[in-house]
């Protein structure tokens, strides 16, 4: 038993390095996608202190809108533009209807409001586009399909799906773009000011409402990118909602306010989950992917209660 836990998995890793690398790659891709969702959470949390539970459903909603429009005869790129427009309308609507009246409420109320939004979007999405899983329009959008096999060692093969590579590239580009946006542009500076202190930001003439609409829109764009990538790997359906729950440990592990934290957290969870499932999962009957992420996050949290990159929590009496 002890041998199975402490020695055997490492022997396997050593014996079949190609398989191990394949697992690492899978973990990397999953981690990138978790990180993308967590990124949407972080954007909104930084700017408004709202824990946006609806991010997961926004991913599904964006994906569904894109595919649904395309099914009804809209060309792929036009559908993409229209979806971006729809996310903009959603962002404005959320800001106007949900966020503005709830300014200054406790965290848990805002959290509940976003869960209410989740319910609404689930109902609305199913009402408009139906509940069946849909195929993502990967080829129409010009995204690569197919895969490359890399020879490794004498007998090993590592298979890389092109769409996964594209996902990784897009994620990196997106983080870079957000970094530039936050640090170099006027709106980005305003965003950081709002994140630091709402009242101070207001007093120097930054419009909170405008900033929030922009942030929700940015989160919507991130959701759209995530939706396309996840959709290309499986189907676009409300089952993707479960991915949002995966993003929670990622987010908590990285710290609510840190973009690098979201990325690092995503990668840790992605690697940990895949390696744990494949090398240790069999010992307890498999399927441990569903909770391993939370346990990993929990262990990290016990040592750093504010997450890896979170701001230090200072408590005063």
């Amino acid at each position: 038993m002890l041998y199975d836990i402490f020695i055997d998995p490492f022997v396997q890793m050593y014996d079949m390095p190609d398989f191990f690398l394949q697992v690492l790659w899978e973990g990397f891709v999953a981690g990138i996608l978790y990180a993308l969702i967590a990124l949407g959470f972080v954007l909104i949390f930084k700017a408004s202190g709202v824990f946006n539970f609806a991010q997961g459903i926004m991913v599904v909603f964006a994906g569904l809108t894109l595919v649904g429009l395309n099914e009804n005869g809209v060309p792929a790129y036009l559908a993409l533009a229209l979806t971006i427009g729809a996310m903009g309308i959603l962002a404005y609507g959320v800001e106007r209807v949900v966020m503005r009246p709830l300014v200054n409420q406790p965290d848990i109320i805002l959290l509940m409001a976003t869960i209410g939004l989740t319910y609404f979007l689930i109902g609305f999405g199913e009402f408009v586009f139906g509940g069946e899983p849909k195929q993502m329009i990967t080829e129409e959008l010009g995204l690569p399909t197919g895969s490359t096999a890399i020879e490794f060692g004498e007998r090993g093969l590592i298979i890389l799906q092109h769409i996964d590579i594209a996902a990784a590239v897009i994620a990196v580009l997106m983080v870079a773009a957000l970094g530039v946006f936050f640090n170099k542009t006027r709106i980005g500076r305003a965003l950081r000011a709002v994140a630091d202190d709402h009242q101070a930001a207001l007093s120097v003439g930054i419009s909170l409402n405008q900033i929030w609409a922009i942030v929700w829109f940015a989160a919507g764009l991130v959701a759209l990118a995530t939706g396309i990538m996840w959709g290309a790997r499986s189907d676009v359906s409300f089952a993707l909602e479960i991915v949002a729950f995966k993003a929670l440990p990622v987010l908590i592990l990285g710290g609510f306010t840190s973009i690098p934290g979201a990325i690092v957290g995503g990668l840790i969870i992605g690697f940990g989950e895949k390696i744990g499932e494949l090398y240790w999962g069999g010992l307890v009957g498999g399927g441990i992917e569903s909770w391993l992420a939370y346990i990993i996050a929990l262990i990290f949290l016990l040592f750093r209660p504010q997450g890896l990159f979170g701001e230090r929590i200072i408590e005063r009496v």
């Binding site: 949900v98 989740t118 319910y119 109902g123 199913e126 909770w291 939370y294 408590e315 009496v317």
Partner: protein, 358 residues
């Protein structure tokens, strides 16, 4: 005019410390109990009992459980569904191991198991606070759900992977299994819910409840004043999980008859959390109001299109129900973030000063 404490003098400490010092409150409670114990059983048909009253009471009890933890002790929990599941599976195991024992006692005992598991998952709450604590309870939710699927011992190796409630008799009547009549189930559920609600009302206003509220309001300050955070928080987790466990056991024993792991999924956790938030954090009566709203509204919405003569597909109704519930949740949060309990407080204040509002 109708609701006023003026003129109700207290002549003893006992009267001063009564659970309900105002006469009108006592009358109101008696009326509600009379309706629940006499009027509803006489008038209601089976459908009303099984699909409205029994689930409402079960959910109200679960909401009380979560309210103890989140509303009174300030620890956010997203694992209510799993703790209810622990109660259900524990009660199932108990009654299959001891078939002759009284099943109601087994249901009440099953809470002990969920209390133990709740206390274990409450341990990290000493270090992890606020929204970060959500991850602990989510870990509990997904880990326990996984256990319900992967440990065949829990469901006695049933091929279906679900627990089916066996036929059990107590006090000479059938109380569980498919043959139990709705009226019997209703009385059991009502009695247990009322009993636990009464006990909690007393616990919450005593030393224990007050120490929970101190932890909620500011844990460091509470610690400085001599409240032990470890014991207090763990007790809140244990009591809350006990109540949730009993509610979960009642849910399968007296309402659903059979349950699979997905019955106790995260969706259930959120449903209970909604009840607590909409009803009012830190209010027992709010738990009942929240449960009534969240459970009865969708049932109600399902019947509206049929009665006004619009024929809609079942799925469409379901989607629209989702939309309406989501929108109403946001609406109520905007209008009254402190929940129905606060609305009731405001109404009572208006009654006190009526007809002269100043």
């Amino acid at each position: 005019m109708f609701y006023r404490e003026a003129g109700q003098f207290k002549t003893s400490y006992k009267a001063d410390q009564a659970l309900m010092p105002i006469l009108q409150d006592r009358i109101g409670l008696l009326v509600i109990l009379a309706i629940a114990f006499v009027v509803i059983p006489v008038l209601a048909n089976d459908f009303f009992l099984t699909s409205i009253m029994i689930p409402f009471l079960v959910f109200a009890l679960a909401a009380i459980g979560l309210n103890v933890l989140t509303g009174f002790c300030g620890q956010l929990s997203l694992g209510t569904g799993a703790f209810m599941g622990v109660g259900a599976y524990a009660a199932y195991k108990l009654t299959t191991i001891f078939p002759d024992a009284n099943v109601i006692v087994m249901v009440l005992l099953s809470g002990v198991f969920s209390a133990a598991i709740g206390a274990v998952f409450g341990l990290p709450s000493l270090r992890i606070k606020g929204l970060y604590l959500a991850v602990t309870t989510l870990a509990a939710q997904f880990f326990l759900e996984w256990c319900f699927i992967r440990i065949p011992w829990l469901y006695n190796d049933n091929a279906s992977g679900a627990i089916e409630i066996p036929h059990r008799e107590a006090f000479g009547v059938v109380v569980s299994g498919a043959e139990a009549t709705p009226i019997v189930r209703y009385f059991i559920v009502l009695s247990i819910t009322a009993l636990i609600a009464f006990l909690m009302a007393n616990v919450l206003r005593g030393r224990i409840g007050r120490s929970w509220m101190m932890i909620r309001d500011m844990d460091i300050a509470a610690e400085l004043m001599g409240i032990r955070p470890l014991q207090t928080k763990l007790m809140a987790f244990a009591v809350s999980s006990y109540i949730c466990g009993v509610a979960g056991a009642m849910m399968v024993f007296f309402w659903l008859n059979a349950a699979e792991p997905s019955s106790y999924s995260i969706a259930l956790s959120f449903q209970i959390l909604f009840m607590v938030i909409l009803g009012g954090l830190g209010s027992l009566s709010g738990s009942f109001m929240g449960a009534a709203f969240i459970w009865i509204l969708p049932v109600f919405l399902k019947f509206i299109p049929g009665t006004i003569g619009i024929n809609l597909a079942a799925e469409t109704v379901e989607h629209v129900t989702f939309m309406i519930v989501g929108a109403l949740i946001i609406f109520f949060l905007i209008v009254e973030p402190h929940g129905f309990a606060r609305l009731w407080q405001i109404a009572k204040q208006k009654l006190r000063v009526w007809p002269f509002p100043y």
